[in-house]
Amino acid sequence: MTVESTAARKPSRSSNSSGAGTKRATAKKSPGKAPAKKAAAKSATRDAAQREASPHDVSQHDSELVQLLTPEGKRVEHPEFSIDLSPDELRGLYRDMVLTRRFDAEATSLQRQGELGLWASLLGQEAAQIGSGRALRDDDYVFPTYREHGVAWCRGVPPENLLGMFRGVNHGGWDPNTNNFQLYTIVIGSQTLHATGYAMGVAKDGADSAVIAYFGDGASSQGDVAESFTFSAVYNAPVVFFCQNNQWAISEPTEKQTRVPLYQRARGYGFPGVRVDGNDVLACLAVTRSALERARRGEGPTLVEAFTYRMGAHTTSDDPTKYRRDEEREAWEAKDPILRLRTYLESEKIADAAFFTSLEEESEVLGKRVREAVRAMPDPDPMAIFDNVYADGSALVDEERAQFAAYQASFADSVEEGK
């Protein structure tokens, strides 16, 4: 189940794996200035970011990583973050991850079949999304990017809803207030400000809900994300910034965005940052829950960096063989978020064979449901181009609509005539 193949892992990619060294290793050799100079650095100033021994140590902070379940499926404790889940809850998390992966694989294959124009797979990021998603209360509010299919699942958003924009029949189109799950946002980083504003509103209303904003490692470079840190800190807004550092922004490794771990960004804005093992669903749940509680208590924002990996291509349009080697992905397969929870569930006898079998069936049902729903999605009526441009209407849109309708009608006439 956990190893179900997705189209994204097509063999052509691994054919490249004979090359020596990883992209990451190569990149280390070419910062703007020679690293040698770095060593010569004296502590010329006081408040140095002392950890920046090497500018490209972004992935070298495992000691700072909050982890509750090792890649081998062993439960470990963390001094600050603990979690105590019932067997039901544990199985629930597993189920969420498996069904999310199944949904994702189905979408990828629907794209290959031409049913979708594009798909942005979350493969590998299930723990980050299910862990954080399951930490949310119903009255909390989510501001996703375009890859938060697992979070959407946790919110109860019908999976089909997510596919409309990827099929090309709408730009999202669901009601964000139905599941407190805002529309997918494509312009990188912009939703972090919406989340902050929404959280400012929550505080104004005196509510104790929290807001969570998802964004990627690449997005961390956008000015909007920095401004959302500033606004949320100044207004002490109840928002959690959840950065899925999947180590790639399309073809660019995280070193192109930062030279220190991203979670450290928060400190300079006056709120805490924490790095969590993004492939550990328990740790993601615990850390996000704690950050949400902090927000509820009126203590303001937290940045959570979920350290994970984009197992597939950026989207179905992308070809990762151009910029990264298969070894890297293979190394991350050993840290698979689903596999490790399964190992734990099995070794602790929290789930039996019947559970896994029935989940497999459930997955198939979900896949089928999604497939059928997508295939049944009608193309929009061309006249819908003119709908919802304005809430209050517009004389201009009305004029253009009428002209277009007349044009369409005239065309129909001439077809008639032509008969």
Binding site: D175, P176, A195, A391
Partner: protein, 326 residues
Amino acid sequence: MAVQKLPIAKAINESLRKALDTDPKVLIMGEDVGKLGGVFRVTDGLQKDFGEDRVIDTPLAESGIVGTAIGLALRGYRPVVEIQFDGFVFPAYDQIVTQLAKMHARALGKVKMPVVIRIPYGGGIGAVEHHSESPEALFAHVAGLKVVSPSTSNDAYWMMQQAIQSDDPVIFFEPKRRYWDKGEVDTDAIPGPLHSARTLREGSDLTLVAYGPMVKVCLEAAAAAQEEGKSLEVVDLRSMSPIDFDTVQASVERTGRLVVVHEAPVFYGSGAEIAARITERCFYHLEAPVLRVGGFHAPYPPARVEEEYLPGLDRVLDAVDRSLAY
């Protein structure tokens, strides 16, 4: 006290005050809008009376201001955002164009974006760079936004009321050099829909179309022309998106001539759209091509030469003469 004589800035202030008073969801946001009351004092006294929770001094970041206003709108608020000067709206341009303008359509109508963006705009105040621009065309081209500008105190009061009540984002351009011009405000009588043009002066020889700060110039030009025996009609466009082409068309069908006047550069400006559309609608009525008077294709110049750059009485009358010469 339904009718008062107020400067435009004060009329907007009163309108904001009324909105804050009437609707607890209305918020004022921007740089220096609180204690200072804005650099033009348009929000003067509002924070004092409605508190820091309703009248919000923001960090100095325009994208952040508009971006958080979008979030507040999603939460049910109706933010009225101030951009300090025309030239400083561009850091927020991405949020305005890709998010604010499109959110309603993206959600197939399921969310609304009742956000007003107030922008003091235009020249004539002797300011340094970035403080005198007229970027309205850059917003009017974008579907999902509505773009308006009042030219009188009464319109300033009422159009602001209507903009705040609108469930769509409205870019509200305030003619900053007219802020201190006084006019009567009747707080009891709505003067008409937000997006309709208004004929301010009737005439038979030629139609002048303008909005915001140029309306006054056109009225003066019409008065001057009258002394020369020329009868000019003056239409205050009031809304640059959508445009009330019907009113302009009706006028041009009578006069046969049209001159459009705005401060913004002519090239790709609103005059182009008006000229194109009215020429299409009035092809057989036009006795002369639609002429445009506006800014040049150059950065807004230093203050000491802005009077030459800005369309004034003479340039308007020159265009009138050229039109009448056809």
